[in-house]
C-alpha cells in the first residue's frame, strides 16, 4: 500500500466524526429546554401564612370590652376574642366545630367550577336569594358549624331575611340581634334564625341553639375563657376540631376495629385544609395515652396503604393516586399526638368537578326535554 492511499484511508474518520457530532447536536438541541411533565404537588396547611395572619387581624371587629380589674400582681387576663366567628364558638363541643372560608374557596383556582357544580340547575334558588337581597356568591364570607348551630358571616345589610327564610315570626333579641322563626304546617317550629348586627346569621333547630350563640357574640358570659377554636387555629380554607365519636360511628361498619381504636385513643382531631389550588388536608390527632395513639397511628397507616393496594388491584388508578398522597407522620417525639396528611391533586379535582357539571347539565337537559 502506498503512502498516498494510506492518507486516503485516514481522512474519512474525521469526516465521520464531524458528521456524528453534527447529528448529535441536532438530535439533542432543544432537549435542555424541554419542559418536564408538571409534577402533581399538594399544598399542605402546616402553619399560618403571612396573608392568613393579616386576614385574621382584619377580622378583629368586636369592640374591646372593659375587663374588671383583677387583684394586684395577678397575671393579666387573656386577650378578649374579637373575631365574631371565634367569639361565637363554644368552649367545648360534642361532635365538632368547623369554619369554612367560603369567600376564599369561591376565589380559589377551582372556585368557578365548584360554583358551577353546586348551582347548575339551581337557578331558581339562586334567583330567590338574590331577590331577597342576598347574593351567596359575593356576600358570603365564612360558614361555621359548631354542634347544632350554623353560622354564616358576610354582608347581610341589604338582605330581607323574612323573605329569604320564609319566616312568619320575628322579634328583637337584645340590642344587636333579631330572631326569625318559621312555623311548620303541623304547628311545630321549623328552623330558627338569628341575625347579629347584620353581619352574622345564626341558624339552629331550637331557639336556644341560636340565642346561646347570639349571647356569646354580645359578650355575655366569660369572654376570656378559651374557645374550642382559637386565633392560632384559624388558617387554611377550612379548619376546625372534630370529636372522634361521629367519625368512629361512620367507620364502624367498614372497619370496626379501627373505629373502636379511634374512639379509645383519640380525644379530638384538629383539622386544616388548603383549597387554594388543590386540596391538602392536615389532621392532628390528639390523644392522652402515647401507646394507644401509636397503635392508632399504625392502624390508620396500614388501613390507608391497604386501601391504596386494593384500588391498584382493582385498576382504580385515580383512587390509588389520591391515596398515594396520604401520609401518617409523628407530630412530636414522645407525644400522644400525630399528624395525618392527605391530598387531592388539582388535576383530579378539576376532572371530578367537570364531570359533576356535565352530569348536572345532562340531567337538566333531559328534564327540560321531558317538560316540553
Amino acid at each position: 500500500m502506498t503512502a498516498a492511499s494510506k492518507r486516503k484511508l485516514r481522512w474519512p474518520w474525521l469526516v465521520v466524526a464531524a458528521l456524528l457530532f453534527a447529528a448529535g447536536a441536532w438530535l439533542m438541541s432543544g432537549s435542555e429546554t424541554e419542559k418536564l411533565k408538571k409534577e402533581k404537588k399538594i399544598t399542605l396547611p402546616r402553619f399560618m401564612t403571612h396573608d392568613e395572619r393579616k386576614r385574621n387581624t382584619g377580622r378583629q371587629t368586636i369592640p374591646v370590652l372593659p375587663l374588671p380589674a383583677g387583684p394586684e400582681g395577678a397575671p393579666p387576663p387573656p386577650a378578649q376574642i374579637r373575631d365574631p366567628v371565634l367569639a361565637a364558638m363554644p368552649t367545648s363541643v360534642k361532635s365538632g366545630a368547623v369554619v369554612i372560608e367560603a369567600n376564599a374557596i369561591r376565589n380559589s383556582d377551582l372556585g368557578n367550577l365548584m360554583i358551577e357544580c353546586v348551582f347548575t340547575g339551581q337557578a331558581d334558588t339562586l334567583e330567590r336569594m338574590k331577590d331577597a337581597g342576598f347574593d351567596p356568591l359575593n356576600s358570603l364570607d365564612r360558614v361555621a358549624v359548631a354542634d347544632d348551630a350554623l353560622m354564616l358571616t358576610g354582608d347581610f345589610s341589604k338582605t330581607d331575611f323574612p323573605t329569604l327564610m320564609r319566616a312568619d315570626h320575628q322579634r328583637q333579641f337584645g340590642q344587636n340581634s333579631e330572631l326569625y322563626a318559621r312555623r311548620l304546617r303541623d304547628g311545630g317550629t321549623g328552623q330558627q334564625m338569628g341575625v347579629w348586627k347584620g353581619q352574622v346569621l345564626v341558624l339552629g333547630d331550637t331557639e336556644g341553639d341560636v340565642t346561646t350563640v347570639l349571647d356569646r357574640l354580645d359578650g355575655k358570659g366569660d369572654q376570656t375563657s378559651p374557645r374550642v377554636l382559637t386565633q392560632a387555629d384559624a388558617y387554611g380554607e377550612m379548619y376546625g376540631v372534630l370529636k372522634p365519636g361521629p367519625l368512629a360511628a361512620g367507620l364502624a361498619e367498614e372497619n370496626p376495629a379501627l373505629a373502636q381504636l379511634l374512639e379509645e385513643a383519640a380525644s379530638s382531631i384538629k383539622l386544616h385544609a388548603d383549597v387554594s389550588h388543590d386540596v391538602g388536608v392536615v389532621a392532628e390527632i390528639e390523644g392522652s395515652d402515647p401507646a394507644k395513639t401509636q397503635d392508632l397511628r399504625k392502624a390508620l397507616g396500614t388501613a390507608l396503604t391497604l386501601a391504596k393496594l386494593q384500588a391498584e388491584a382493582k385498576g382504580n388508578k385515580s383512587a390509588a393516586e389520591v391515596l398515594g398522597f396520604a401520609r401518617v407522620a409523628q407530630a412530636r417525639p414522645g407525644s400522644a399526638n400525630f399528624h395525618l396528611e392527605a391530598g387531592l391533586p388539582y388535576e383530579f379535582l378539576e376532572l371530578q368537578l367537570r364531570k359533576c357539571v356535565d352530569e348536572k347539565k345532562k340531567r337538566l337537559a333531559a328534564k327540560e326535554s321531558v317538560a316540553q
Binding site: L9, W13, L20, G24, E32, K298, L309
Partner: protein, 278 residues
C-alpha cells in the same frame, strides 16, 4: 467482532486484577452488607411503619412501601450516576495509556489484530466493566430492599443503565485523549471536562440568557451543542429509578445523543491511531 470481544475480555480480566476496581466492588459489597444486616424496616401490610439503621431511628412516618422506597432509589441512582461515574473515570483512566505503552503496543500490533479492533475492544471492555459494577450495585440494592419490604421493582436497574449511557460518552473522550497525550492524569482531566461541558450543555438556555449577545454567546451556543446533556440524563436516570415523572421520549434522545457523541469521539481516536507510528 470475535477479536474485538477477545480484546474486551482481556481488558476485563486485567481490570479485575487491579486494586481500584477490586476496591470499588468491595465498597459496593460493604454498603449492601450494611444495609442487609443493620437496616431494620417495620413493614406492616405493604406500609413502612418505621426504619432503623444501627438501631437509630431514620424515619417514623407511615407511608406505603412503594412511596417510601422512591427517594431511596432516587438517591442511589443519583450517587451511581455522579459518584460511580467519577470513580470509574479515575479507576479506568490508565487503561488506554498502558495499552499504548512502549513495548506493549508494538507487541499487540504484531498480533493479527487491527487497530480499530484494539480501540473498540478496549472501549467495550471498560463499558462492560462499568455496566457490571453498576448492575451489581443496583441489583444488590433492589434485592436487599425487595426482601426487606416485599416491594419489587426494576426501576433502579433501568435507571442505572442510563448511568452507563452517560459514562460511555465520558470514557470515549478519555480514550481518545490517550492517543494525543499518553497520560492517565490527562485522561481523567478530559473525563472531568466532558462532565462539566455536559452539565453546561444541559443548562445551555438559561446560561445563554445571562450572556451578552455577541461572539461569546455564539461561541458558547455552538461550542456546547455536540456535548451530551449529562445533567438532563442524570435527571431522567433519577426519575426512572424513583418511578416519578419519567419522560421516555426525552430520555431516548439524550441516550442517542450520548452514544453518537461517543462514536464521534471514537472516530477521532481511530483517525489518530491509524496515523500514529509506533
Amino acid at each position: 467482532m470475535r477479536i474485538t470481544l477477545h480484546v474486551a475480555r482481556d481488558l476485563l480480566r486485567e481490570a479485575l486484577a487491579r486494586n481500584w476496581v477490586l476496591g470499588l466492588l468491595v465498597g459496593i459489597t460493604l454498603v449492601l452488607t450494611v444495609l442487609g444486616l443493620f437496616l431494620r424496616l417495620d413493614v406492616v401490610d405493604g406500609a413502612i411503619a418505621g426504619s432503623k439503621l444501627f438501631g437509630a431511628m431514620l424515619f417514623d412516618d407511615i407511608v406505603s412501601t412503594d412511596k417510601a422506597m422512591r427517594p431511596v432509589y432516587m438517591v442511589a441512582a443519583g450517587i451511581g450516576f455522579f459518584g460511580g461515574a467519577m470513580f470509574l473515570a479515575v479507576a479506568c483512566s490508565d487503561f488506554a495509556p498502558s495499552l499504548l505503552s512502549p513495548g506493549r503496543i508494538e507487541h499487540l500490533l504484531s498480533l493479527p489484530v487491527s487497530r480499530w479492533q484494539l480501540l473498540l475492544g478496549t472501549y467495550l471492555g471498560v463499558l462492560a466493566l462499568s455496566a457490571l459494577c453498576t448492575a451489581y450495585g443496583a441489583l444488590g440494592i433492589t434485592l436487599v430492599f425487595g426482601f426487606k419490604t416485599g416491594f419489587w421493582t426494576t426501576a433502579l436497574l433501568g435507571g442505572s443503565l442510563l448511568g452507563v449511557a452517560g459514562f460511555c460518552a465520558l470514557y470515549a473522550a478519555m480514550l481518545t485523549s490517550a492517543f494525543f497525550v499518553r497520560s492517565a492524569a490527562a485522561s481523567s482531566a478530559v473525563g472531568l471536562l466532558v462532565r462539566v461541558m455536559g452539565i453546561l450543555a444541559s443548562a445551555r438556555a438559561p446560561i445563554e440568557e445571562t450572556l451578552e449577545p455577541g461572539l461569546g454567546r455564539t461561541l458558547f451556543h455552538y461550542g456546547v451543542q455536540p456535548f451530551p446533556r449529562l445533567w438532563k440524563l442524570a435527571e431522567q436516570c433519577i426519575r426512572l429509578a424513583g418511578d416519578e415523572n419519567f419522560n421516555p421520549g426525552l430520555t431516548a434522545r439524550l441516550v442517542a445523543g450520548s452514544l453518537i457523541f461517543s462514536l464521534g469521539m471514537l472516530a477521532i481516536a481511530a483517525w489518530r491511531f491509524e496515523k500514529k507510528d509506533f
